[in-house]
Symmetry: C2
Subunit: 419 residues, 2 copies
């Protein structure tokens, strides 16, 4: 079979391990020079394809590519940019074909979450609807853990480990100070619609009374009275109270408790600040001094505390994406299949992109305790293996030693294209 | 000489390594049974002494005490409580003597920052002014790094490592997203009056253009126009801009940029939120999407990312405190003496408490660059060794495995005392 180049791009919010997927994918492509020529990475996601802004990854040494495994964020740049449908914006798809033809791209790998799997699905239709032969494989990534048909999403396990560690550590701090100072600590975490990250905080509480004492999920409508009452009970019983709250916490009418009012390119509201809102509520009602932390990007970029399980899965999914493409499987995504909880056992599977695009996996109702304030044993059994194992990056001068690529652009062959 | 018991207490805001000091102190005391009987720890700092709420550390095994070295926060509880002067509140000092007599306490160790060294200094005067024989040694601890006469303060190096790592990681994240999404990232860090922690963020930027791009120190009056201009220049040059800001950032009149209006037991304002204020300022003026993070307690409890240098110094200072006491040195504090920058070489010294109590060490002016937005090479030379080395705690079930002590209370011999 002919040797053709591959296109790879990273999309949506980045993670601590998306580069581990890039690492696996590029390494596996290099193992198949008889089928895959160069891996050309889109600079800033699909925008790189549309604007013919392609990075020649073949100019990076094997040693540098290997270091991607322990480097957080998107080494080639990511984007929040959603393709319209073929019917709505045919010119974009025709442009993609132009670029693919100009650079002999026969494999298209798109590494992202829900919105990105939608883009990958749309691109996968080029082959059939516009007659250009390209094998399209979506590669999962999202800290939100909300892609269906996979046991989990790379990036989530490391966020989970980070937030559970953080609330445990802060919990020790507050317990020390509670007598004369801070009694309430709130950690605000990501998770717009699904409470996976909030739930992961719950892993830090292995025995009754251990932080976090209260979890506030986006799935559970916020009831201020019940919350304040529960906080008061915790302070009475333990002397302090620690809370993990999802940025997406909403009231019974679905209104976000904190909404800064701005929206991102996908039309999502930009969130942040609910941690302070609920901490202040406690202060106003019970008078307790509080502290709150907003983990924000720290949680999804904390490669220094990555889950080894997560890193291994992220890498394996990159490898599997290439293998699926070489098998000619178009419009699929490699997945993680859980075989056993403890010890955790998993294998790689695959699923059709059409069943994944735009489908958001919610937390099962049975993962939330009946009072709505914590996780169940079923949830623990699911989450626990995902944070297992450490995989620290190399350190230099006391700090994680992350790689920066040269990111040399391939010479353009086409005219400009306005996105 | 007679065997007498020792009192040890933790005071003020806790750190990732104050328990390493407790570990060193208790271990060293156990090596001298001919002089020191039991180490009785005050529950919640000096309050434990005043209320005769004493923890018998002799009931904890050597193995458990050893685990304190890798456990963050204050294992015996801390407090924010400042003794008044002997003249103002003689009853408190008489009560301390009562408690010391009742439990045969001949050594008093107080582990804390500025306010705590003041307390330690006042207690050290008991011996002379009230005729009770007790050797009093202050033991340094503060993430603020603002105690004089010591090269650095235990707790600071680990915060420094955490914030520098965090802004480096978040910087990789923002660089990935900047084209279509977040262009501005702000990390708010601790440091009420001194910019040591803010300065430490600067260590992450080893080459021109690397995050953080701008540091906002409490020592440099905030000028909105100059700041916004500099942010715009960074975005033009690098595509994005990362900022580390001290919670204590103030304007030219000394007014805090963010002041929540509440005060702690020492009368300090409770800070927090300046990160959002300056991020929103950029949004309003330049229109860039921002994210911000509030590290809060996470930064000072992050034992998972402690500096090995910091852990070693914290432990050594605990050992040294006992050694000083056994030499009969009253009213002193063990210190770190720097002998060389690179490779870092240090030894233990000591200094009189009267020269330390209530003296706040500011950052030298020559540590801040002439434009006020970054650190100088002299600052790097000072800070760099303090974050060197890793000392990860043991992990269990994917999370740091920290110890909880039994903390058994010694039977009371006295009546109650109201504080």
């Amino acid at each position: 079979m002919a040797v053709r180049n591959a296109f790879y791009a990273q999309s949506g919010g980045v993670t601590a391990v998306i580069n581990a997927t890039a690492c696996g994918l590029i390494q596996e492509a290099r193992r198949h020079p008889e089928r895959i020529g160069r891996v050309l990475a889109g600079r800033d996601g699909i925008i790189g394809a549309l604007t013919e802004d392609l990075i020649d990854t073949s100019l990076e040494s094997d040693a540098v590519i290997a270091r991607l495994r322990s480097t957080p964020a998107g080494a080639f740049g990511s984007c929040r940019y959603k393709l319209k449908s073929l019917e709505e914006h045919r010119a974009q798809y025709e442009r993609l074909i132009e670029v693919f033809k100009a650079h002999d791209i026969g494999y298209f790998f798109y590494n992202g979450g829900n919105d990105s799997m939608d883009t990958a699905w749309k691109v996968s239709q080029i082959s059939e609807k516009l007659g250009y032969p390209v094998v399209c494989v979506g590669v999962p990534k999202t800290v939100d853990n909300d892609l269906p048909l996979t046991d989990c999403c790379p990036g989530f396990g490391s966020v989970a480990k980070y937030v559970a560690t953080s609330i445990r550590e802060a919990g020790y701090d507050v317990a020390s100070m509670a007598r004369t100072s801070t009694k309430i600590f709130v950690l605000e975490v990501m998770g717009r619609h699904a409470g996976w990250i909030t739930a992961a905080c719950g892993l830090a509480s292995e025995n009754a009374g251990e932080p976090p004492h209260i979890l506030l999920f986006p799935e559970v409508p916020f009831e201020p009275e019940r919350f304040v009452t529960r906080v008061g009970e915790c302070v009475d019983q333990y002397g302090y109270c620690t809370v993990a709250v999802s940025e997406g916490l909403s009231d019974a009418s679905g209104k976000l408790i904190a909404d800064s009012g701005t929206k991102d390119a996908f039309g999502h509201s930009q969130l942040g600040g609910v941690g302070q809102v609920i901490a202040q509520l406690v202060k106003d009602r019970l008078g307790y001094k509080y502290h709150w932390a907003l983990a924000d990007y720290l949680q999804r970029s904390a490669r220094h505390l990555a889950s080894r399980t997560d890193v291994e899965q992220a890498h394996a999914l990159g490898v599997a994406a290439v293998d699926l493409a070489l098998q000619g499987k178009n419009a699929v995504m490699p997945t993680i299949r859980r075989l056993a909880d403890a010890p955790y056992c998993w294998e790689i599977g695959d699923a059709p992109l059409k069943d994944i695009a735009n489908v958001e996996r919610k937390m099962p109702a049975e993962f939330i305790s009946s009072d709505g304030f914590h996780i169940t044993d079923a949830c623990r059994a699911y989450l626990q293996p995902l944070i297992e194992g450490e995989d620290p990056p190399p350190f230099r001068n006391g700090l994680p030693d992350y790689v920066r690529l040269k990111n040399v652009t391939v010479a353009k062959k086409l005219g400009p294209f306005s996105i």
